[in-house]
């Protein structure tokens, strides 16, 4: 399917253009999700896209699926209810870095732990975009933000490490620059029977970029290009990874999936 068909098929055309600022990375990531879903040939009626609150969380409104825009930080808890109630649905959750890892951090680690078959995509722009550029749990130490006028005294999470510690069974990182590769990462995340976390490095030129003199959206994309490296390359040659951000599939494992474990209980009681 070409782009024009994808747009026709998956977007709510009357809602476009979306509200995001010029050069906001979120639109690029969203297209990756659309291509991944298309590649997998999922039935649109069976796809549910859930989000919290934030610029990123406006994404579901543009997509022609069952879409749910919840409260700030709670998307995964709503999604857990949906998936557990009807495991046939493909449940995909889009969240910002604040939404998922600040206020929503607990739901995230518990979704990882439960290994419930949900795919979470974090649009990480290292800032609270929606509220005007306050620091988030992924804003680097020392960076500037609306609430960090003297440099952020707070250290960031490596959210992929955190998800691993919490028990997610598929973890990947992509960027808005490496959009094609991101398609595949999301695709594999959706295919994973269990909880998948995909960190998509996005850019907020309006706040994070401007406050930290990271230049335009173009400059920020170039930063991703120059500073990210695929984990597979580093696996073979660890030196390459020095000072770089690892992207690609970072971690994969197998554990009982929550709704299947529950189904086993129901089935056993039926006997």
């Amino acid at each position: 399917m070409d782009a024009s068909q994808l747009i026709q098929k998956y977007y709510r055309l009357d809602k476009l253009p979306h509200i995001w600022c010029p050069g906001c990375g979120h639109g690029i990531l969203l297209n990756s999700l659309v291509r991944a879903i298309d590649n997998l040939g999922l039935n649109k009626d069976e796809v549910v896209v859930v989000s919290g609150i934030g610029c990123s969380s406006r994404a579901p409104g543009y997509l022609d699926f069952n879409t749910l825009h919840t409260t700030h930080g709670r998307a995964l808890a709503f999604a857990t209810g949906i998936k557990h109630a009807n495991p046939n649905l493909h449940v995909i959750v889009i969240m910002g870095d604040g939404d998922s890892f600040a206020i929503g951090g607990n739901h995230l680690i518990h979704a990882c732990r439960r290994n419930i078959d949900i795919t979470a995509i974090v649009f990480n722009n290292n800032i609270y975009g929606m509220t005007g550029g306050q620091y988030s749990p992924t804003t680097p130490y020392g960076d500037l933000a609306a609430t960090a006028p003297y440099g952020n005294p707070d250290s960031p999470f490596d959210i992929c490490q955190l998800a691993k510690g919490a028990g997610a069974t598929y973890i990947a990182r992509g960027t808005a620059y490496h959009a094609r590769e991101l398609d595949k990462l999301i695709e594999r995340g959706i295919k994973n029977k269990g909880f998948s976390l995909i960190e998509g490095l996005s850019m907020c030129p309006t706040y994070y970029g401007r406050k930290n003199r990271k230049g335009s959206a173009v400059d920020m994309l170039k930063f991703f290009k120059d500073n990210c490296i695929d984990k597979r390359l580093v696996d073979n040659n660890p030196q390459l990874g020095e000072g770089k951000i690892l992207i690609g599939e970072l971690y994969k494992s197998t554990r009982p999936e929550y709704t299947e474990s529950y189904k086993a209980i129901i089935d056993k009681l039926k006997e």
């Binding site: 253009p17 050069g23 990375g25 639109g27 690029i28 959206a217 173009v218």
Partner: protein, 70 residues
């Protein structure tokens, strides 16, 4: 029938972010009055690099004709 590729620019949706302009390997695109414009269509190699990074679905390649069962 052979597939024909077409470079589509939707100015309504374009927000003028420069991304496509800067990442086009063939300098096909430019910016005018805050909107992208196609200035060098003949050089376009339909590599989709603009499409893939346009945050706004404002520029993309359309395949005209060709195999319907694609």
């Amino acid at each position: 029938m052979e597939n024909k590729k077409e470079l589509i620019l939707n100015k309504e949706w374009c927000k003028g972010c420069w991304i496509c302009v800067e990442f086009c390997p063939k300098q096909v695109l430019d910016m005018k009055d805050g909107k992208c414009q196609i200035v060098n269509l003949e050089d376009c190699i339909y590599c989709q690099l603009c499409e893939i990074r346009c945050p706004d679905n404002a520029i993309y390649i359309k395949t005209v004709g060709g195999n319907d069962h694609d």
